[in-house]
Amino acid sequence: MTSSPIKFYQVGSFAVGNRLLAADDRSIQSDPNRTNALTSGHRACQGCGEALGARYALDAAMRATNEKLIAVNATGCLEVFSTPYPESSWRIPWLHSLFGNAPAVATGVAAALKAQGKSDIRVVAQGGDGATVDIGFGVLSGMFERNDDVLYICYDNEAYMNTGVQRSGATPPAARTATTQAVGENPGNVFGQGKNLPRIAMAHEIPFVATATVADLRDLEAKVTKAMSFRGARYIHVLVPCPLGWGSESCDTIKIARLATQSGLFPVFEAEHGEVVASTRIRQRVDVEEYLKLQVRYSHLFVPARRDDVINDLQAVADKNIRRYNLLRDESESI
């Protein structure tokens, strides 16, 4: 499994005993020479999961590529809060074109580098769930199909946040958004198949697909680092809670991400060439309710009356993930 063999559970993922670890095992954020690719001064909300995830991911990518990296960004929160003219928080080459074309633009950047014999410079494309699973879906599939040499990172906060919390294809069932409001007989988002981008990426048989969350930032760093060891199309899907859109406390961002993994609602795994090669066991399983009740976007499942029918349906989604990825296996079992 791509992760540090030493886990410091007692103090959580922040303190990883950096002093006690060999240099290579330490978080890149502990290195004073890190890039600070997304540096301070950006305008993200307090508690923004995406700002946290992007910072870790990009610094890891910069370390892994010896600082030879170009980033392509889709329109969305990350782009908006990081580049308020005339300022920019980016300390790396950074290109923003449109909402729906980040994968294609990245394909173009990679092609240009190749044509100029500069393939030592690597390309990262990034966008939110809206840009990735909806409007940019077609070009993302194209990038996968051609196996273009791009790592695409999706920061999934499960709705179109920057425009006011509207539903996306990644919005989970029953969640309230501005276009799936908590009214009527079936409040919140419909129960559908959802659009599982990691599995769709796997179906393209690309070299590397992984999921991660901001609850385990070392794991995110490690996966980005590993992704850069491959050539070809790679995809990482990161769960990033959004206090504003989810209606959660800004101090609970990491906690909520952890509950998403420990409930089974967000399975953490990696795949190579279309096959799952590793998944992170659930250490302390929680019922989905523990996760749901911290978020106002699910409050209609509890007040004015409990919707046990919906909560049970969500539990079934979690249970399916647990079965599918064998997330409650013994420590000794491999996958």
Binding site: Y85, I135, G164, Q166, A178, T180, Q181, V183
Partner: protein
């Protein structure tokens, strides 16, 4: 009913009263409150027999609209700026197929650079698409024009773009007499499609047309668009008959009697212009205002008549032809053909820059004395421009 309401909400309620059967939209600032309002009305059961589809892009939105309209449903969608451009292939497809789709364009600037604020570059970029384009001056008119739009669209079997200034109107909270269901039902009968996908009477829609007939198809569309010049006023008159107020139509004059200078504009800025014109009293300033409500088709004759006594016109535009000048002015010049009327173009409000009474007044005072350039960009920061040009020259 008279309400103090956000423009977007007034539009959502008016559209709902038109009993659309399919609403498909993709969120983009500043249209979001309209579709959110409609999604709520569908979800809580107020708007019945309506499928609300959360599509995955604007291209999908217009495509879903095409399919639904061709199958006989009354359809509505909304977008702005980048979203309008994303669906352009489908926009031309809708008008080419003669589908009476109604779409709100919450006017917003087009990037790059990315800008979410109001100007007219989005709808202006589609002025040749074959869609009818009507511009609301106030939120009252925005609500009313949507109701009229369905009737215009269905009479002509042409799609209609209702343009309302993003943020300035969509997010302004003001008094609107929101059309009531009973009145809208009187005004707008159920949709009778010209042709429809129906197993009982199969037709093929979307055939390839070669050189032997393409010109004729386009000419017929040209004729139909000109017919709109009659349909739009009579729909406005019908509207007045039922709702008791004048809303819509082709153009609207203000203090044109005796006006030597006429300021022409589209949309919400007309309100600010009227306030400025009211303050410019005295014989030096015989100044009036001409609002253009129907921009496509352009009401050339009506504008010609309205400007018959003017010595000069100032066309205030919120979009322009890069490297050339204004857009609306070229249509106005067609109306001025054969006259001595002078014309000046004032590009203002790009990317949401506020058009202030002060700046407008200073400009108009000079314009009345013919003391302005043919083309002016209002409140241009010439120092910033000069610095940038030097920087690019490597100085």
């Amino acid at each position: 009913m008279l309400r103090q309401v956000e423009g977007s909400k007034a539009v959502a309620d008016s559209v709902a009263a038109c009993r659309p059967q399919v609403i498909c939209a993709y969120p983009i600032s500043p249209q979001t409150h309209i579709v959110e309002g409609l999604s709520r009305l569908v979800k809580d059961g107020t708007l019945e027999n309506c499928e609300f589809i959360n599509v995955e892009s604007e291209f999908a939105a217009m495509s879903v609209a095409i399919g639904a309209s061709a199958t006989g449903a009354r359809v509505y969608t909304a977008t702005a700026s980048q979203g309008l451009l994303y669906m352009v292939e489908a926009v031309y497809n809708a008008s080419g197929l003669g589908l009476p789709i109604v779409m709100t364009v919450a006017n917003r600037a087009i990037g790059a650079p990315i800008n979410i604020w109001n100007d007219h570059s989005d709808s202006m970029s589609q002025r040749d698409s074959g869609w009818i384009q009507i511009y609301a001056e106030t939120n009252q008119e925005a609500a009313d024009l949507h109701v009229q739009a369905f009737k215009i669209a269905e009479e002509l079997s042409l799609p209609v773009m209702v343009c309302m200034d993003g943020f300035i109107l969509t997010h302004a909270y003001e008094r609107v007499d929101v059309p009531e269901q009973a009145d809208v039902d009187k005004f707008l009968p159920p949709f009778q499609p010209r042709q429809i996908m129906d197993p009982n009477n199969p037709v093929s829609i979307g055939a390839m047309v070669g050189p032997e007939a393409f010109t004729e198809v386009k000419y017929i569309s040209h004729m139909k668009n000109k017919l709109a010049l009659d349909v739009i006023p009579h729909v406005a008159a019908d509207f007045q008959g039922i709702f008791g107020r004048s809303s819509g139509g082709l153009i609207r004059g203000y203090k044109l009697d005796g006006a030597k200078t006429v300021v022409i504009a589209l949309g919400s800025v007309l309100g600010t212009i009227k306030d400025v014109v009211d303050e410019m009293v005295g014989a030096d300033f015989a100044i009036g205002v001409l609002g253009i409500i129907a921009f496509r088709p352009f009401p050339t004759e009506a504008v010609r008549a309205a400007l018959s006594k003017a010595q000069r016109v100032v066309v205030l535009e919120k979009a322009f032809q890069v490297g050339i000048g204004g857009i609306v002015i070229e249509n106005v010049r067609e109306s001025l053909r054969g006259t001595d009327t002078k014309d000046y173009t004032l590009i203002a409000g790009l990317g949401g820059r506020p058009i202030t009474k002060q700046s407008l007044r200073e400009y108009l005072v000079r314009a009345c004395q013919d003391d302005v350039d043919d083309l002016t960009f209002l409140d241009l920061d010439t120092e910033l421009v000069d610095r940038e040009i030097l920087r690019e020259a490597g100085v």
